[in-house]
Symmetry: C2
């Protein structure tokens, strides 16, 4: 990344050779090793791009206008989409440059004034969502849901180990963390009821997931391969695919989930760059039977550890690393028929559930369909979400040199229906 010509030319500095001028604890999950991207309202109703560093936000729009970083003007946009569309060479150059600016003392005077306290801004949705796809990659979750939704049948359907099952969700109702969630109304019919009824969902649930944000566009008619993952994938968000279980159970045959899922999907406000997760790579589970060649991959998973907090009580710790299908396989599968991807496309892992009850990513699993309530720290019991409840998802992953990479939280409070 070159410097504008009106400033003295300097040899490129290497961050690791210099002490950081930032006062950030070594164990801060939002240190220079992370630098997630977001879009924030500085307080005037506008929306601008920023990078989170500790408890501050670096104003990327101002940084680019000052000539300190160059991304073809895309950092002036209100969403990450134009920047993401530039592709990996730009993502790498900008990330390297941000690291340099935040660690080299020579830049301190000019950069420090562009840091805004996180507490003074309101994070918005960091990108405009193109298409949203939700996968179903946890064998434990698919088995649990199969048992609960289709009792008496084999829980895992014959196709599950041959392809990453997924479906398109509603992109227009993806909301940023902090957005209140209005309890959905809908139709439901218990198997023994004579007719369906309509009303507020009584089985309102969460699904703790990891979302993958596509950066670079592909061409219609040309599939991507599992090897294209690093070229096209920009970053990662935490993801809560909110679900109304009795609506879903009544509507989902034969065309899949619709209103049981489309009322709100919450994502974290900060997109963790894929490059910040290089140290979090772990081997993904081996697959048996072997997959078809177009799905063969290097079996790279990510050691992302999620926490699910219900009204202040940690109720589960879903481990992302155990998922059967990798995000590289998901990208190859969703484009195998020639479907194209766009900057801002979002595809999520599906509910992350481990083998133990304390590792499941949904309350329908945690309370086994509502039959086994949980008791929270305040002594109250819960099966599904009640009005006023708040669920917070957080996550961490191993970072560079023993650091920890933090994800922005995903939080939302349940409100009663409006009609």
């Amino acid at each position: 990344m070159s410097e504008p010509s009106d400033r003295p030319s300097r040899p490129a500095s290497k961050p690791s050779e210099r002490p950081s001028w930032l006062e950030i604890a070594a164990d801060d999950p939002f240190g220079v090793h992370n630098l997630p991207y977001g879009a924030f309202d500085p307080g005037d109703g506008s929306r601008r791009l920023g990078a989170r560093i500790g408890d501050r936000v670096l104003d990327l729009a101002a940084l680019e206008r000052a000539g300190l970083v160059e991304a073809r003007g895309t950092l002036q946009a209100a969403t990450l989409n134009p920047y993401m569309a530039l592709g990996r060479p730009y993502w790498k150059a900008v990330r390297d440059r941000l690291t340099e600016l935040l660690t080299d003392q020579i830049f301190r005077y000019r950069v420090e004034r562009l840091l805004v306290p996180l507490a003074d801004v309101t994070p918005g949705l960091p990108f405009e969502v193109g298409d949203y796809v939700d996968f179903y990659s946890s064998q434990e979750h698919a088995t649990n849901l199969g048992r609960l939704f289709r009792p008496g049948s084999p829980p895992l359907l014959p196709n599950w180990k041959h392809l990453p099952i997924g479906y398109h969700g509603r992109a227009g109702t993806v909301v940023v963390s902090g957005t209140d969630i209005v309890r959905p109304n809908g139709q439901r019919k218990p198997p023994d009821a004579p007719a369906p009824t309509f009303g507020p969902s009584q089985r309102l649930d969460i699904e703790a997931e990891v979302g993958f944000v596509v950066g670079a566009p592909s061409s219609l008619g040309t599939p991507l391969t599992t090897k294209d993952f690093y070229e096209y994938e920009f970053g990662v968000v935490l993801h809560n695919d909110r679900s109304a279980r009795e609506l879903q159970a009544w509507e989902y045959q034969p065309l899949g989930p619709f209103l049981g899922k489309s009322f709100a999907t919450s994502v974290s406000a900060w997109v963790v760059p894929l490059d910040a997760l290089a140290q979090a790579r772990v081997p993904a589970p081996e697959q048996s039977p072997p997959v078809l060649p177009y799905l063969a991959d290097e079996r790279t998973g990510y050691d992302i550890r999620i926490e699910v907090v219900w009204n202040g009580t940690v109720v589960s710790r879903p481990p992302f690393s155990g998922l059967y299908w990798t995000p590289a396989q998901q990208l190859a599968h969703l484009t195998a028929n020639g479907a194209s991807v766009r900057p801002g496309d979002l595809y999520a892992s599906g509910t992350v559930s481990g083998a133990k009850r304390a590792e499941v990513g949904s309350f329908i699993e945690l309370t086994w369909g509502g039959a086994e309530p949980v008791t929270l720290a305040d002594g109250r019991t819960r099966t599904f979400l009640e009005d006023g409840d708040t669920v917070t998802l957080t996550a961490t992953a191993p970072g560079l040199d023993g650091t920890v990479v933090g994800f922005g939280e995903v939080v939302g409070r349940i409100q009663p229906p409006r009609r």
Copy 2:
């Protein structure tokens, strides 16, 4: 709609009192009674909005710049989305004004120069698709597909008559008429095969549908009612939901269609305003059992008659008027859980099939799963689409004073896979 002040003030003219200065046959399906909207490339790679009139296109961007129509600058955009977002009062005022400009002699000199021959331009996708939902509203189609996909089970599932079944499709692969269709690759497994295989779809199909384009946005958390339909709905397109049947059959349990549908969906280049279809309203079929109150509506269907032309041979004439679920019910249903709509959201009827074999909207029905080939005018037989095949959908509906409202065609040629 007021005139700019630098031109002489005139009393508002009423179109019906004046002869049209346009030389258009009374039976032209694209007369002044229709005026569908589109976006066209004038030949320089740019994209501008236009209204089709006969075999010409009125350049709406130039018209607004000339001060002849006023829509807050939205007619300067490359897509209809900003204009649609203005809402019905603007849609009505602009439509009235276009009618006035095209019928009152006084405007002839200034307007005629803004008409471009249709043959000189390339129509593009008229709007940026927000969310795309595909419904399943033909009882005949749902019954036929149930028989073909689930032989031995009741073809119509228990929920079908209680709610308009639908699912989200891929918005990013909606393409305009004329776009070549690359045959999709994919996984399939016949029931008696030991394992799935991957390759070009051998059961490539069409689905003849009518698409509804949402114009005005709604608020997240606030459902719309069936009465809100006229307020939010901007117009109508013809729609071909291309389908790869053996991919769909293998993947669709339990989360619905995914790659069997997501490779390409073709829409017509011209959006027929809902206001042009006032004379096409017909009573929709009565529903039994009665629907829940949130789905109760005035039972308004539209007498839209589709023709399916396969390599030049008319193979079917699906009648839209017989659909069980109306577009007003679909809009109320898809927002019943509080999901919001955006300008550019597209929801389609699902395959339009009548009771007779000559009225079905898909080839899997026309050839009964491929078991009963059809013979085209060139003497060749077909079951599903072959490379080089072209299918054209056209449609008409009754218009004002005995006229006919035409829809733009939906056409696409099948190309072999690229990989």
